[in-house]
């Protein structure tokens, strides 16, 4: 209908604006979809950082997928709707500050018989429309697209910055090489003929043996030799009064064909491998660290991405924190793991009180840690812990220290984050001041690298990481959880 000679100009303008609005809607829909997808990615990453359990993460991913699908469907359905003429006119009014002139004219155009003043207004609006150009009515979609660009840019930056913390899981060959190199280096660094070198030899043999040997049914496997030569000390009770710790994994393939309460053969193999890794690393103070371990512990990362700085009592003090100092002698560690497993087999509750550890106050020095360690006699008596492998060859009594080597260093056990080299500490090879230094346990067992939890720093995330890490053997997982809980007390 043409109510005035110039009304066609108004109709053409409104039609063009409607087309422009549809295109703008399409862009807005695409932008909204990008924003929805980016938000889902952001939420998923935040959920992963928060340490949600895997099933919750799966549910969140499904929810995000559904949200994106619904958003896409709704957005494109909205974009595909025809744009009413009055809506286009209102947009033009707002764009040109025409004070509802074009929208009113569009409304009057739809009337079957416009009144005289309505026709006058249509004529006026058509005259205005003839002078107008179709603007790019795209403020909303610009906002959406800008929001999407900012969101995705931030996500990309985050991804680039955080990708350095992700490294592939170690494979068996890498683990073997690392452990063998670690053992060799340790052996070379020890005094020739000392008890420590003998222990290192024994540990290295066990490591290589455990890596090359497939998991066989434990009790009948000929290679299932006891980890510790003192594993036959079945009479040494542990602190809880239970059976001797050495009767668990080591005594199983013994003369009696396996204790009824002991672990299965595969468990024994796993326990032996765990202990072998731990043993090798306990002598590994001077060993070179693999690159991937370094990256796991934050070396090479920007300072904001590095793990929280925690100093070891060995290297100095840590302000405001107290750590559990754990006797890292092989026998003690073996006894600890065995005792935990034994207690678990009896239905006992974890964690057990630390039998080989002491709390050290903040500011503790290595000497404080040494003094805080249990006496050698009590160590053997209360824990039932087997003496280190080399000690029997020296003919020492159970739990006695090597008079030549002196007390072994006391170390901080498993911690959720890597240590960092304290200021003033003599740098190790490849380390700089302030660089993260892996804990003994991280060096001890390669799979323990995953203790660098993906979530925010804290014991909960570390515990979750320990629980869910498939590379951890049950024994190491138990021990890690135990130490973690003990430190939390």
């Amino acid at each position: 209908m043409s109510v005035s000679p110039n009304a066609d100009a108004l109709l053409i303008l409104l039609g063009s604006t409607a087309s422009s609005l549809r295109r703008a809607r399409l862009r807005a829909a695409f932008g909204g979809l990008l924003v929805a997808a980016g938000t889902c990615v952001l939420v998923a990453r935040l959920a992963a950082l928060a340490g949600l359990p895997p099933d919750a993460l799966d549910a969140a991913q499904w929810l995000a997928a559904i949200l994106i699908a619904v958003t896409a469907a709704g957005a494109f359905a909205w974009a595909g709707r025809p744009v009413p003429r009055d809506e286009a006119a209102r947009r033009l009014d707002r764009h040109h500050a025409l004070r509802d002139a074009l929208s009113s004219a569009a409304a009057f155009l739809d009337r079957p018989a416009p009144e005289p003043l309505e026709r006058l207004h249509i004529t006026r609006a058509a005259g205005v429309a003839a002078r107008l150009t179709v603007p790019r009515v795209a403020v909303p979609d610009r906002a959406w697209m800008m929001a999407a660009a900012v969101l995705w840019g931030a996500l990309g930056l985050w991804h680039v910055l955080s990708s350095a913390t992700v490294s592939p899981a170690p494979d068996l060959v890498l683990a073997q090489e690392r452990q063998t190199r670690s053992g060799d280096a340790t052996r070379a660094s020890l005094p020739a003929g000392s008890g420590q070198q003998a222990r290192a030899d024994s540990a290295s043999t066990e490591i290589v043996d455990s890596v090359h040997r497939p998991a066989m049914p434990g009790p009948s496997a000929p290679g299932d030799a006891p980890v510790s030569p003192r594993s036959g000390d079945a009479g040494a009770p542990n602190r809880d009064g239970g059976p001797a710790a050495s009767s668990l994994p080591a005594a199983a393939p013994g003369a009696d064909g396996g204790a009824p309460s002991g672990p299965s053969g595969s468990d024994a193999v796993a326990a032996r491998e765990d202990l072998a890794r731990a043993l090798s690393a306990l002598f590994d103070d001077t060993a070179d660290r693999p690159d991937d371990t370094v990256s796991q512990n934050g070396v090479g990362l920007p300072p904001s991405k590095r793990p929280r700085r925690v100093e070891s009592p060995r290297g100095g003090s840590e302000a405001g924190r107290t750590h559990l100092a754990v006797d890292d002698r092989p026998g003690a560690l073996q006894g600890e793991v065995a005792r935990i497993r034994q207690d678990g087999a009896r239905g006992g509750s974890l964690p057990l009180p630390p039998s080989h550890g002491r709390w050290l106050p903040s500011g503790a020095t290595p000497d404080d840690a040494r003094r805080a360690m249990p006496a050698p006699a009590s160590l053997g008596a209360e824990g039932g812990a087997a003496a280190p492998a080399g000690r029997e060859s020296l003919g020492e009594e159970e739990g006695a220290f090597d008079p030549v080597d002196g007390p072994l260093p006391t170390v901080v056990a498993v911690k959720p984050t890597a240590e960092t080299a304290p200021p003033g500490r003599p740098g190790r090879r490849g380390e700089r001041r302030g660089d993260p230094v892996p804990t003994t346990f991280e060096r001890a067992a390669v799979p323990l690298r995953v203790i660098t939890a993906p979530g925010p720093p804290g014991r909960e995330s570390a515990r979750d990481a320990v629980r869910t890490e498939p590379a951890l053997t049950p024994a190491l997982r138990e021990y890690a959880l135990y130490v973690n809980r003990s430190q939390a007390r």
Binding site: R94, S104, H121
Partner: protein, 332 residues
Amino acid sequence: MNIAALEAQVQDFHDRFHAARTALATMIVGNAAAIEGVLTCLLAGGHGLLEGVPGVGKTKLVQSVAEVLRLRFSRIQFTPDLMPGDITGTTMLREDAAGGRVARFEPGPIFAHLILADEINRATPRTQSALLEVMQEASVTVGGVTHRLDPPLCVLATQNPIELEGTYPLPEAQLDRFLFKLGMDVPGLDEMRAILDRTTSSDTVQLQEVLDRDHVLAMRTLARGVPVAPSVRDYAILVALGTQPQSGYAPERVKRFVRFGSSPRGAQAIILGAKVRALTHGRVHVAAEDVRAAALPALRHRVLLNFEGEAERIDIDALIGGVIAGVPEPSR
């Protein structure tokens, strides 16, 4: 009617309105909104209630309007002893030519074009109610006979918000019949200077007559014909409904402090005032800004606060402003 003639009418409306406003401004210093509101009431076919403290020029404004528009003017000073018959007129016995006696209606002062109801709240409700029929139907019924009043009819009432002793607040039904309630502000420093210069010297201000009755009637007809788009009409409706606490469109503040909101007359007043305003701005369609400008004077006397609102001394203008701000504009 062709488009060119309509254009001329619209332009004439615009020019005459501004001429009247300019003429009134030579007599009334300041209070431009009140001047424009009075003219809007007159051209929209409604009545106005002027409120202000004594001495701000309420009566002078109405007298000036009558003079500028060359309308038949009548002033009624409302007092407590004023009777309805004193306003509407009464039937009196008269002697005819034959010497007989006949009952004849003597029109009261209400029979005029522009009526100044001065201090309307000083009369009793019975007398105030005499204006109800006049303001709504433009007629007077006396002795069973209805007398039509000659258009244009505009009642401009004044009241003093301070002196409450011996006054009778206008009932809601009476208030609802006023199109606008306009406030007269106390003049400021510059305005006081101008007032003193004009009123204390030997020079007298001569008002210019710019309109007459026919002009006013034509302008009323034109204003009534201004079209309103449905979206703008709905915007005005939502604003009016927003003052009703029982409606779903009222904001929380209205629900808490308001006892009664605007009646449908409020929405009518908004649209009528917006139409006149659109023409005064040279437009032949009502825009949202016209609705916003007309909403406050059209609604402020139609909103009654509840006890809590009175106790909290809620400012009704601010309350209505919140309602207007809360209603989405039709262009959004």
